[in-house]
């Protein structure tokens, strides 16, 4: 019988402790797997979201995030100029504001409000109805439609709030053209969108043509880097950021907390697993010293008994590791649901994202844990004095 078969029989002989060992490794492994998914999840998710919008460059007035810095003057003209560059496929100007839909509630219904100008496809997906036209029309997201029971064709009156200052802008009537899905919507967020001109009207008409960001899609043949260089050359007073640079900035931002916590918990979890498997194996080996000495006396080599212990460790960690994958998946779903309640997180962003590299690292770490945990018990069996142990066990 080979070492693996022998180790299997040793475990099966004591099913309760073997099962508990495997279950313990499964629980720890699930947490370890989740921490590996968490370490890069948010960044991968954000990168995917940025790429799905169809634009790979963002042009802003300053280094501030769109909507948090000053407006770009003459943004519509700038967007048109950018769109004529040979490395650019299309460009749109976007402006962000807030609005209160006036209804029967005393304070109205608070929403975020955006305006768009340019020839490219709008950064939303129409679910029902149609896209905005040239009139006083807007598209609303599903949350707004559900909560206010609005459908395409409905009319509403809103009051925009376009700066941080207190304003008393006049209410403006709009018609709902359609219901749309916005890529950066939060799970409970209410969003409206119209043309940049209509938004400027709602904002008092003083800042016509200004926008927070110009989103640019590069020509596939030219590539993003060439488009970034061309736009930066054309508009040296503005900041041009590719998706990769935006993700880098995001990585350096506040959400590195999750990467740090993931590193700390990965280290703690792995140490915990190694310690406990070592203790389990050591106690188990100590209880079988007489048996192991007898096997050595019967002709089992030192390496053979060492291999038995190692295989036992591999079987416990391997079994637990296999179980940890579905358990970790379920746990990740639960933890993701908890974390996505952080205000301002887009509904399509996830904290735990599967990637093959995470699975590889998980398997490598578990393999290392199996080997390291077996080192001390291996040392015990390798140095076991056969005659003295047998004498002690028999004479006991």
């Amino acid at each position: 019988m080979n070492a693996m078969g022998f180790a299997w029989r040793s475990l099966v002989r004591q099913p309760a402790r073997a099962s508990l060992g495997v279950l313990g490794v499964a629980a720890v492994g699930a947490l370890l797997f989740d921490m590996l998914l968490l370490s890069e999840g948010l960044v991968i998710s954000m990168r995917g979201l940025l790429e799905r919008t169809g634009f790979d460059l963002r042009v802003t007035a300053t280094d501030s995030l769109p909507g948090q810095g000053p407006l770009i003057p003459n943004a519509v003209a700038e967007a048109q100029a950018i769109a004529t560059l040979p490395t650019v496929r299309s460009a749109i100007a976007l402006r962000f504001a807030n609005a209160t839909i006036l209804n029967d509630r005393p304070r109205g219904f608070y929403t975020s409000f955006q305006g768009v100008a340019g020839t490219a496809q709008h950064p939303w997906t129409i679910l029902r109805g149609r896209d905005i036209g040239t009139g006083a029309e807007l598209v609303i997201n599903e949350n707004t439609a559900t909560r206010l029971q609005l459908a395409p064709g409905a009319r509403l009156v809103l009051r925009a709030a376009c700066t941080g200052e207190e304003q008393a802008l006049p209410p403006m009537p709009f018609t709902v053209a359609g219901v749309a899905q916005f890529p950066f919507d939060t799970p409970n967020g209410a969003t409206l969108a119209t043309s940049l001109d209509r938004l400027a009207d709602a904002c008092g008409g003083n800042e016509s043509g200004e926008a927070d960001v110009i989103m640019v899609a590069s020509q596939e043949s030219a590539g993003t880097a060439a488009a970034v260089a061309d736009v930066a050359k054309l508009l040296p007073h503005l900041r041009v950021l590719s998706n990769a640079e935006a993700v880098n900035r995001f990585e350096r931002g506040g959400f590195t907390y999750f990467r740090q916590i993931s590193t700390v918990l990965t280290t703690v979890t792995l140490s915990f697993a190694v310690l406990l498997i070592t203790v389990l194996l050591t106690v188990s080996i100590n209880q079988r010293l007489g048996e192991i000495a007898a096997l050595r006396a019967l002709g089992f080599s030192r390496w053979r008994v060492v291999a038995d212990v190692l295989c036992e460790s591999v079987l416990i960690v391997g079994g637990g590791g296999l179980l940890s994958l579905p358990l970790g998946g379920l746990l990740a779903l639960g933890l993701d649901t908890i974390l996505k309640r952080i205000p301002g997180i887009p509904a399509e962003v996830h904290f735990f994202v599967f990637r093959p590299e995470a699975l590889q690292v998980h398997l490598l770490l578990l393999a290392a844990a199996a080997v390291i945990a077996a080192l001390y018990p291996i040392r015990i069996v390798a140095r076991l004095p056969i005659a003295a142990t047998l004498r002690e066990e028999v004479g006991g």
């Binding site: 402790r17 508990l20 200052e165 506040g254 209880q287 933890l335 974390l339």
Partner: protein, 283 residues
């Protein structure tokens, strides 16, 4: 009189420091430690501040001090380059041309109550008397909503998973440890000790081990508290406290760990003690 200060994250920091021997009549500002370090500005330096990037209407200020910004989890990872001005100075600096003095507004008014316990009643009173003004007690506002509550739930979920894993391992270990003593337990049974007497002995042993283990765990967490805080404070250049082992947290940990440890011992022992004494003592 201590003048009211207001944080001003100005759009432009027009001129870096130059220790000018300007008249002492210059208004004073405080700058954040991060701004002081990044721009090499020291106490006594004169800086020029403007509300716009084009250097329009820039004014001179003397740096009266460098301060450590109040730790803010919402700004974790951000380099806080901040200047604090006296409110009248800030209003003068940011006032639009033609706007009469006194017609400006402020975003927030911080109120210190004689009795902080009156915060909720005071907030209700203000909101009733001044429609359109939102008055919120500062304590609890951060903890009851937003990212803090979510992170708390996240950490709680991870703690539950860790407890489950620990319990499973603990059960496996106690089964082994109790099994190791099966011969001794068998002899005790054979010389006439009832099951209950042996179980009580194992129970007391379990309590002692669980208490010592819990105390060791709390001591370990107190040591790691300092290490974790120092690491994250260095990593994010903040005075924010990330881990705090309070007496309540320690009590909860002990309240969970001791019963779990004792239960594991009793469950494992009970499984062993149900066997016949002769069978237990058999080698």
């Amino acid at each position: 009189m201590i003048p009211r200060r207001i944080a001003a994250a100005l759009a432009s920091f027009v001129a870096a420091a130059a220790t000018l021997h300007a008249a002492d009549t210059l208004p004073h500002v405080l700058i954040s430690r991060q701004l002081s370090e990044s721009e090499h500005i020291a106490v006594g330096d004169v800086v020029r501040l403007s509300a716009s990037a084009d250097d329009g209407a820039a004014q001179q200020f003397r740096v009266a001090g460098v301060y450590e910004p109040t730790p803010d989890p919402a700004r974790l990872g951000a380099v806080i380059r901040e200047v604090q001005l006296h409110l009248p100075d800030l209003l003068t600096l940011t006032r639009e041309p033609g706007m009469p003095a006194g017609s400006e507004f402020v975003e927030t008014i911080n109120v210190a109550l004689v009795d902080p316990a009156d915060a909720a009643a005071f907030s209700r009173d203000v909101q009733a008397r001044m429609p359109g003004v939102s008055a919120q007690p500062s304590t609890g506002a951060a903890e009851s909503t937003g990212p803090f509550l979510v992170l708390r739930r996240f950490h709680l979920a991870i703690a539950i998973v860790t407890i489950v894993a620990s319990t499973v391992f603990l059960l496996a270990l106690t089964i082994m440890l109790v099994d190791e003593r099966r011969a001794a337990v068998g002899v005790l049974r054979l010389i006439g000790l009832p099951i209950r007497r042996v179980l009580v002995q194992l129970f007391i042993e379990g309590v002692l081990i669980a208490c010592i283990g819990s105390m060791f765990g709390v001591a370990l967490s107190l040591v790691s508290e300092g290490l974790i805080n120092r690491f994250f404070q260095w990593r994010y250049d903040t005075a924010l406290v990330f881990v705090r082992v309070t007496p309540e947290v320690a009590a909860i940990c002990v309240a969970i760990a001791v019963p779990l440890g004792v239960s594991a011992t009793v469950v494992a022992s009970w499984a062993l003690l149900r066997r016949n004494g002769l069978r237990l003592a058999r080698r």
